[in-house]
């Protein structure tokens, strides 16, 4: 858009064209606060650096709705939230303070249980029942896909448990990494096999 500007107009508006990062940050924070106060900040998000790379965290007014690894694509995750939850999405770290702090503690071996409100609306039906069961698998413990299928009420739905884990919208906080193959191998993971291994090693230490 600026590229199409005629040279004279470009020169004319030169004092206005510089990116003003400070003002942008200030205005963005002000908008997030005003939107939250008006009850129209449907999805707040932020990114956080962890030993497993940069995570995207997103929360509705109900609770944490999405945790996405960089390998899953943060833009894709935000686009999905815009489509399935609401297009009123802002980078607004305040709402994510609690889960951010608890993730820091978790990676520092100072937390074993996440105590934050969750919004599991992105997961439906049987997948949702699987996530509910995953929350009951304790820190440092693993279960097989078959065990989870039984616990979630459909013993033959082993593959569906795999899908529920693969599509877990809130990995780490809902510990799908604690579900492994019956032969003891790790199995797949939303954040990649290395991330799963790292989490299981972290919890075993």
């Amino acid at each position: 858009m600026m590229a199409t500007m005629e040279p004279e107009a470009r020169r004319l508006f030169e004092p206005l064209t510089a990116q003003d990062e400070q003002a942008s940050a200030r205005l963005h924070a002000r908008l997030a606060a005003a939107a939250a106060a008006d009850g129209i900040l449907d999805v707040a998000y932020r990114t956080v650096d962890t030993p497993l790379g940069t995570l995207l965290l997103a929360a509705t007014e109900q609770g944490v709705v999405r945790v996405a690894y960089a390998s899953q694509g943060h833009d894709a995750a935000l686009a999905q939230l815009a489509e399935l939850v609401s297009p009123r999405i802002l980078n607004a770290p305040g709402r994510l303070d609690g889960v951010t702090r608890q993730l820091d503690e978790y990676f520092a071996h100072r937390r074993r249980v996440f105590d934050v409100p969750l919004d599991l609306r992105l997961s439906k039906g049987f997948r949702r029942s699987v996530l509910a069961h995953l929350l009951e698998i304790p820190y440092g413990v693993t279960e097989s896909y078959a065990q989870v299928a039984t616990a979630a009420g459909r013993p033959r739905a082993v593959r569906a448990v795999g899908t529920a884990c693969a599509t877990n919208p809130v990995p780490i906080v809902v510990p799908c990494h604690r579900v492994v193959r019956s032969d003891g191998s790790f199995g797949g993971y939303a954040g990649g096999p290395d991330a799963k291994q790292s989490l299981l090693l972290l919890e075993a230490a």
Partner: protein
């Protein structure tokens, strides 16, 4: 939508001036956020944001007319950053001296990149009138601002 934040800020600074620009920007985006779910898919988000900013600018201008004018000291030399604290007082003075339709047409075309037909839909009037308003505005700015700047820089 956040991608258009800097563009809308430039437009607000040009249309309502550095002091009111941040209020106008905030009101524009809050209103946009409220209305966003009703926006048609495939709508031109830039034009839509400028339309909202245009209405907010009219509101701000009306409100300013009811307030005593605050006159700040103008900087000695034009700054190149665009920040209100060192915003080029001469450029804003030159923009402020334009008739509102010319100022809007200049900002919406040259800063927001909107075509004249879209600008006409926002400000009222015909496409040709919008094109003329922008051309007249630029012609005036050439005299009131660019010439002075060149003079000062010894060009």
């Amino acid at each position: 939508m956040a991608d258009f934040g800097p563009m809308v800020l430039r437009v607000c600074r040009a249309v309502v001036g550095p002091d009111e620009a941040e209020d106008a920007w905030s009101e524009t985006f809050l209103a946009a956020l409220k209305a966003y779910p009703e926006l048609d898919e495939g709508a031109n988000v830039e034009a839509w944001l400028v339309t909202i900013a245009h209405r907010k600018a009219i509101d701000a201008t009306r409100a300013a007319a009811r307030r005593p004018l605050a006159v700040g000291s103008l900087p000695e030399r034009p700054a190149r950053t665009g920040r209100p604290e060192d915003w080029d007082g001469d450029l804003w003075a030159a923009l402020a001296a334009l008739p509102p339709k010319q100022r809007a047409a200049v900002a919406y075309h040259h800063l927001a990149g909107l075509p004249y037909a879209q600008i006409a839909a926002i400000t009222g009037g015909s496409t040709d009138a919008a094109r003329r308003a922008a051309a007249d505005g630029i012609r005036t700015l050439r005299v009131t601002y660019l010439a002075r700047t060149r003079e000062r820089e010894g060009r």
